[in-house]
């Protein structure tokens, strides 16, 4: 190296002492900056290991409400209970009404994904219960599996003949279970959960929401489990099981028809609002009753007066029109039913009419309980010829916009073809397609 020509002791950094100080400062900065740990934990969210049983159980109940709006709206459209007249997305008056539902669209994917997300949360809860006492563990498993089976049922209601996945795997090639296998699986999960609830002691190791008032101990929650089991059995046509399940459920012929299990809502931060509520007097609403709901109603049916409201002008879009807003939800924090006594009484009537040994007077008596509450006169004893029609009609008015009952009933009683059609080319779907993200190569 040549001799340096210039290396002056200028101001101030030419002085070797200052230069050493500068080097020391730089070294210090380097050291401090290197000391930060780049493998820091998630700055926003807790990891699964830190969640309490209550957090996870509340998560199951909270997430059960996700995308219930779409679920209720689309199944109400399919069953011609309602329209959703919103020009912002042409699907509302387009393929949801023509029945050609998009296999990769939000209306199918969002509820589908939400139910499997709830199932994931149920599985988290089951894992977290491993360390609990035997009875708490059984109670937790009974709760989780009941909620899991119910979530599966909602998805099966959508894809129906196309089946659902009952093995929860990240392998997309995991096969779909057929409709029959899926129903069997759901029934078994409910039965296993019922058995576990019997071992569940006196209380759950977590609090249930007020939506499960009266059903919030392992023993009483088992009644909710049996109510869902009765619904599943009815969907399969297994009336013997409907009957036994109902007898262990919360069915009460003399009780309030509204008694049951509900999703609950509030305006608290982080909570959500009732999925279908719209202010009935607003200048414009989107969720409107299908005009046939009013046209087909018996005069004086209180269910009509309480569930729809006539608006000053009709709303029309894309050739669909209605003047009736939906008031099933009375406010934005009104609970939304999961299953309630009115359906159980109707299920009991269904067993009486369609079970292996029909009992028409018993069935008529049960229908009349519901009719009386609706301010209608008693029906005369029904016969094999008119009992099913009467049952379907009462179910239509009692369970209006509570989760697609009319569509499901029309499908299981093979009456989809008789649902009203407003425009040429419209048709209710039988089964929604398998969602694209579940099917390899689609």
């Amino acid at each position: 190296m040549k001799t340096p020509l210039i290396f002056r002791n200028g101001f101030p950094l030419g002085n070797p002492i200052y230069q050493h100080c500068l080097v020391a400062i730089i070294a210090l900065v380097v050291l401090l900056a290197s000391c930060q740990d780049p493998n820091f934990p998630d700055p926003n969210n807790p990891s699964p290991s830190t969640a309490s049983i209550q957090n996870l159980a509340s998560g199951v109940m909270g997430s059960s409400r996700t995308s219930l709006a779409f679920y209720t709206q689309i199944t109400s459209i399919f069953g011609r209970e309602a329209y959703y007249l919103d020009g912002a997305d042409p699907a509302w008056t387009g393929n949801l009404v023509t029945g050609q539902v998009d296999a990769n669209g939000a209306f199918l994917l969002q509820p589908w994904n939400a139910r499997y997300a709830t199932i994931g949360n149920c599985r988290n809860l089951i894992s977290a219960a491993a360390g609990l006492s035997a009875s708490d563990k059984a109670a937790t498993e009974g709760f989780s599996n009941t909620m899991l089976a119910y979530s599966l049922l909602l998805n099966l209601n959508l894809t129906y003949d196309n089946g659902i996945k009952i093995i929860f795997s990240e392998d997309i090639a995991t096969p779909f279970a057929s409709r029959a296998d899926a129903f069997t699986d759901i029934a078994k999960r409910l039965d296993d959960a019922y058995a576990a609830l019997q071992q569940g002691g006196n209380t759950f190791p977590f609090a249930l929401t007020k939506g499960y008032a009266g059903l919030n101990t392992p023993a009483t929650f088992a009644r909710f489990n049996r109510a869902i089991r009765a619904r599943v059995a009815a969907y399969i046509g297994d009336y013997a099981t409907v009957s036994t399940a109902l007898s262990a459920s919360f069915l009460s012929e003399t009780g309030d028809l509204a008694t049951g299990a509900y999703h609950v809502y509030s305006t608290t931060s982080g909570d959500v609002l009732n999925p279908i509520y719209e202010p009935p007097t607003a200048p414009s609403v989107k969720f409107l009753a299908h005009p046939s709901f009013i046209a087909d109603a018996e005069t004086g049916d209180l269910r009509v007066a309480s569930k729809v409201v006539k608006r000053a002008t009709s709303v029309s879009l894309g050739g669909l029109s209605s003047q009736y807003g939906i008031t099933v939800a009375k406010s934005n924090i009104d609970p939304f039913p999961i299953i309630r006594n009115e359906e159980l009484i109707l299920l009991k009537a269904e067993v009486a009419f369609l079970g292996s040994s029909p009992n028409y007077s018993e069935g008529t008596r049960l229908l009349n309980i519901v009719r009386k509450a609706a301010g209608l006169s008693d029906l005369p004893t029904l016969t094999a010829a008119n009992a099913l029609n009467a049952l379907i009609k009462e179910r239509r008015y009692s369970l209006f916009v509570e989760g697609g009952h009319r569509w499901i009933d029309a499908r299981r009683f093979n009456r989809l073809g008789s649902l009203p059609i407003d425009r040429t080319g419209d048709a209710p779907p039988t089964s929604l397609p398998r969602p694209v993200p579940e099917v390899p190569g689609s």
Partner: protein
């Protein structure tokens, strides 16, 4: 351990050099003279540096200079000044009255282009195709944001706006797509500091319900923060387009790097420049609406309500689109700059006040910026530069774009028939209920507020310390660092007294969002230069870098707000959201550059990067680079043709860069979002599963090309071919929802991309009085996913019925699919976002050194757009081409989307400007000759757009800046054209 060892090593290196050399003394050499330009005018502030020794200075106001070189018998002085070719003067004895003539560098051959974190070389030796633009080329016509001004100026640089809203929202892609899900935008480096270009969401999605607050695919179309820079402060922009050039920025550079240098002070002169712009803007293109010809038609459209409204308005056509988008925007911009200084200290101060109103009443953008740059020579071997920029920007962006509530102007417009008059009568806005409408868009325009306010501080500094400098050798320590801090406040107010809000369950909504963002970085570099007597030069750079990013966002949504109030505690319910983004990055860098006799230039380097975004934040990933350029025209055999082709260089470069997934990608966490129930916090799985094994994606690029200058510089022809392979491609792969998760970031693919760029520069007329420059640039590329380890999936858009992108092995990553299937039932491609080619044309004609005419044309040929604007109009029965819309819808119902995936070609006259400049001589009799220059001009931006596209502008992105899924049009803010009048003077 590794981080400690490296620090110790760095420290040791410093210590070795310090104190190792002792000074000796000899005779001084003193030279002086003057420096003039090619027209014989004195140039002030020319930098003069002696090669290999600490000596130099600047020319003064009269162009006079004097340099003393201590302890020396001979020296080479280098004179340099921006825009001029450097001049070298060899001196062997003390001398005075040396007259230096500097030549203007019209073709930028002598421009110094960045090659390392602390190094650069002259363009003639550059081994990459690095584009650059100077201040005058950048702002041919005024631009409210810097990125807007870049459109059409370079080959391979695509500038596309996401929305026409004032204040931007602009995507910059360099050489096309280079990632599927990773960051899509280039890295912006301003004076050595990486500045934030994020787009922070306002939370407006929570009101339009296009998606929820905090969604991973937001649709609020905010502006991206590079918009905050004042374009008038910029001296020069260099664009490192591909990985081979950008490799020195490592794991964040796969989208390229844009290096911005702001104006610096000048020694021995004080220049004051003031520019005033006044302009106007209007909508560029409208859609129109179906014309109803009879009451019967109105009746068949909307029944009795149709008849009522038809009669009410006497069947007149009411142009709601003009009412909403027909405002004439007013633009004013004042900018003032002062630059000056002494031999030791130079400063630049730039101020800006920009105000504009938009083509929608109530919208607008304002920006106030103050920048000061100081260069200080602390001692003969220590220099310091510091820049501070303080910015306030504010935009009122209105409510446009996608929506699931019927609120946005575009959606309401697409739903409202033309026989309805929605104008307020005596202050009362008629309810708009026809055709499923939930809002009166005129009322929404007048009452809805969507305001974004930014306060930003950008501080950057550089320290140059010549640790030693001897004949032919020097060692310099360069520290660069700084911080970029901004707060963003969004206020979205949807007052209760509107038709729209009356339909909400808690009428009256307000969003108050605040975010604080800080980016800080520090680069420490050691640069060793060795120049031998036989014209060999070696530059060795060793560097280490830290960068931290931290953002805290809070969004508070209030509902049930009482009228006239917008405080969060004046509502009946409050929804809170908070999100923290944290990222820690480290990197080291080594580079060797060898220049052999100005003939062959070789460079090799490696960069290692570690980041908290990866599965293991301490793991360094290496990104190598290598490049070579050969100036054939320096060889003997070239002499025969050097009169035709004066300069010819072959170049080849290879480099690797990376790209990261989002900072949340590695976490598997629970969330309480929407899961608080009955007073308890519910914790649920996030839809995204974490990946602890995530690596950065890696882009390797090989680039070949040549640069040539013909006919005495009358013609410049540059061409580059590049091929890129992106491995470890990060994808948000889809998990079957039945697993409980819907996605996971993973390294699962390989993408192949190639393209070429041609730049042709012509100087067909160059006389004393007329100078005409004409440049054309061309870019074409293609990309294909060559490997995908996960099942193919659809992404972007909304659903197949509306058109989506597909991620599948063997096809383009920007291929679009829909319902269309072939005979075998397999879905077929119906579009691609990749254009066939893109051409930019720039021309500048100067007559008599005072009259100047410039224009810039940008032509994009091909590239599809998923046109949901048309679908909305069609589905609502209100397309202006109503008959055609029936056919389109009928095709859609039969399972074909092709009518809603449209050709997005365009030709745009981006800039046109005409101005006249009076120089000092012409102004000598005016006001005592105080003016240095005076310029008057008229100009326009986006005056003409030719496009077959059905809609406002094929340049659109409903989802903002993202790699895959950009070209989706859901009736966003329409684009505008603008005109300006300019008055500028210099003192």
């Amino acid at each position: 351990m590794s981080k400690w060892r490296l620090s110790v090593a760095l420290t040791t290196v410093f210590l070795c050099f310090i104190g190792a050399f002792a000074p000796i003394f000899a005779q001084d050499l003193t030279v002086s003279g003057s420096v003039l330009d090619d027209r014989g005018k004195a140039i002030a502030g020319v930098s003069i540096k002696a090669k290999g020794v600490q000596a130099g200075g600047f020319s003064d106001k009269k162009g006079l200079w004097r340099v003393s070189i201590p302890n020396s018998k001979a020296a080479t002085l280098v004179f340099s000044y921006i825009g001029f070719k450097p001049f070298e003067l060899k001196v062997t004895e003390s001398k005075s009255d040396i007259a230096i003539r500097m030549e203007e560098d019209v073709l930028k051959t002598a421009e110094i282009v960045v090659t390392g974190l602390a190094t650069g070389i002259a363009r003639t030796s550059l081994p990459n195709a690095i584009a650059s633009v100077s201040a005058s080329e950048l702002l041919a016509a005024p631009a409210s944001t810097m990125d807007q001004a870049l459109a059409g100026k370079f080959a391979g640089v695509n500038i596309s706006q996401n929305t026409g809203a004032p204040g931007g929202g602009i995507s910059v892609t360099l050489r096309g797509i280079s990632s599927i899900i990773g960051r899509s935008q280039p890295l912006y480096v301003v004076d050595g500091l990486i500045v934030n270009n994020d787009a922070v969401q306002s939370g407006i999605d929570g009101i339009t319900k296009s998606t929820g607050v905090g969604s991973s695919r937001p649709q609020g179309q905010p502006s991206n923060r590079i918009a905050d820079l004042n374009p008038n402060d910029i001296e020069d922009i260099q664009v490192l387009k591909g990985a081979s050039a950008a490799a020195l920025y490592g794991a964040k550079a796969s989208n390229g790097v844009i290096i911005v240098t702001t104006k610096k002070g000048r020694a021995n002169t004080t220049e004051i420049d003031f520019t005033q712009q006044i302009g106007a803007s209007s909508v560029l293109k409208t859609i129109g609406s179906r014309v109803f010809t009879s009451e019967a038609e109105a009746k068949s459209f909307a029944g009795d309500l149709g008849v009522t409204l038809w009669r009410k308005n006497n069947g007149q056509f009411f142009d709601l689109e003009k009412e909403l988008y027909g405002n004439t925007g007013l633009i004013t911009e004042s900018s003032l700059s002062v630059r000056g200084g002494s031999d030791k200290t130079q400063f630049f101060v730039g101020g800006l006040a920009h105000n504009e109103t938009g083509i929608i009443k109530g919208t607008g953008y304002s920006k106030y910026s103050l920048r000061s740059n100081i260069n200080q020579e602390i001692s003969e071997n220590v220099r310091f530069e510091a820049g501070l920029n303080v910015i306030r920007s504010e935009s009122d962006r209105g409510v446009t774009g996608n929506d699931n509530t019927g609120l946005t102007l575009g959606v309401a417009l697409s739903q409202t028939p033309s026989f309805v008059d929605l104008r307020p009568v005596n202050g009362v806005y008629p309810a708009n209920t026809i055709n499923g409408n939930t809002s009166n868009p005129i009322e929404t325009r007048d009452k809805f507020k969507n305001n974004e306010t930014i306060y930003r501080f950008i501080a950057s500094s550089k320290l140059f310390w010549d640790i030693f400098k001897i004949e032919g050798q020097s060692l310099t320590f360069v520290a660069q660092g700084g911080a970029d801090y901004f707060t963003q406040r969004n206020k979205v107010i949807s007052p209760a007294n509107t038709q729209f809000e009356q339909g909400q369950s808690q009428p009256g909504q307000a969003i108050n969002a605040e975010s604080g963002n800080i980016n800080s970085n520090l680069y420490l570099n050691l640069l060793h230069v060795l120049e031998t007597e036989n014209q060999l030069s070696f530059k060795t750079t060793l560097g280490y870098q830290f960068e931290n990013t931290y953002r805290n966002e809070t969004v508070i949504t209030t509902r049930g707000l009482i009228p006239g109030q917008d405080n969060i505690n004046r509502g009946s319910s409050i929804e809170g959201y908070q999100f923290i983004t944290k990222q820690i990055d480290k990197g080291f860098f080594f580079q060797e550059e060898v220049d052999i006799k100005n003939l062959l230039f070789l460079t090799a380097g490696v960069r290692g990067d570690a980041s908290s975004v990866n599965g293991d934040g301490n793991q360094y990933y290496l990104f190598p680079k290598g490049a070579a350029s050969l100036r054939l025209s320096q060889l003997d055999f070239w002499k025969d043709i050097s009169s035709t082709i004066s300069e010819f260089k072959l170049r080849a470069a290879y480099g690797q860069t990376g790209n990261y997934a989002v900072p949340t990608a590695r976490f598997t966490s629970l969330t309480s979002l929407n899961s608080v129930i009955d007073g308890n916090v519910g914790l649920v799985n996030q839809a995204q599963k974490g990946n602890a094994l995530l690596r950065p994606e890696r882009t390797g690029e090989l680039e070949f090309g040549f640069d040539s200058y013909w006919l005495e510089g009358r013609l410049r022809l540059n061409a580059s071919y590049y091929t890129q392979t992106v491995t470890d491609l990060v994808l948000q792969r889809q998990l079957p929802p039945s697993s409980g998760y819907t996605s996971q970031y993973d390294n699962v693919g390989t993408m192949q991309k190639q393209g070429f760029e041609i730049e042709l520069g012509l100087n067909p007329v160059r006389t004393e009085s007329v100078n005409w420059n004409f440049n054309v640039n061309f870019h074409k590329y293609d990309a294909v996913l060559t490997e995908l380890k996960v099942p193919a999936f659809y992404t972007g858009g909304f659903s197949l019925a509306y058109g989506q992108y597909r991620v599948e092995q063997g096809i383009s990553p920007l291929a679009m699919y829909g319902l269309d299937k072939d005979a075998s039932g397999k879905r077929i491609q119906i579009g691609s976002e990749i254009p066939n080619f893109q051409i930019g044309v720039n021309s500048s004609l100067t007559i008599a050194r005072s009259f100047n005419f410039r224009f810039n044309v940008d032509w994009k040929n091909g590239g599809s757009v998923i046109n949901l604007a048309k679908l909305l109009y069609d589905a609502n029965g209100l397309s202006p081409d109503y008959q055609a819309s029936i056919d389109r819808l009928s095709l859609l119902s039969k399972g074909t989307n092709t009518k809603f995936v449209d050709d997005g070609s365009y030709v745009k006259l981006r800039e046109v400007a005409l101005d006249y400049t009076f120089d000092r001589a012409a102004l000598s009799g005016f006001l005592g000759g105080i003016f240095r220059s005076l310029r008057l001009g008229v100009s326009g931006r986006n005056l003409i757009m030719l496009t077959p596209y059905w809609g406002y502008d094929p340049e659109v992105s409903n989802f903002g800046n993202l790699s895959v899924g950009r070209s989706v049009d859901v009736l966003g803010f329409p684009s505008a054209r603008s005109y300006y009048f300019t008055l500028a003077f210099g003192l």
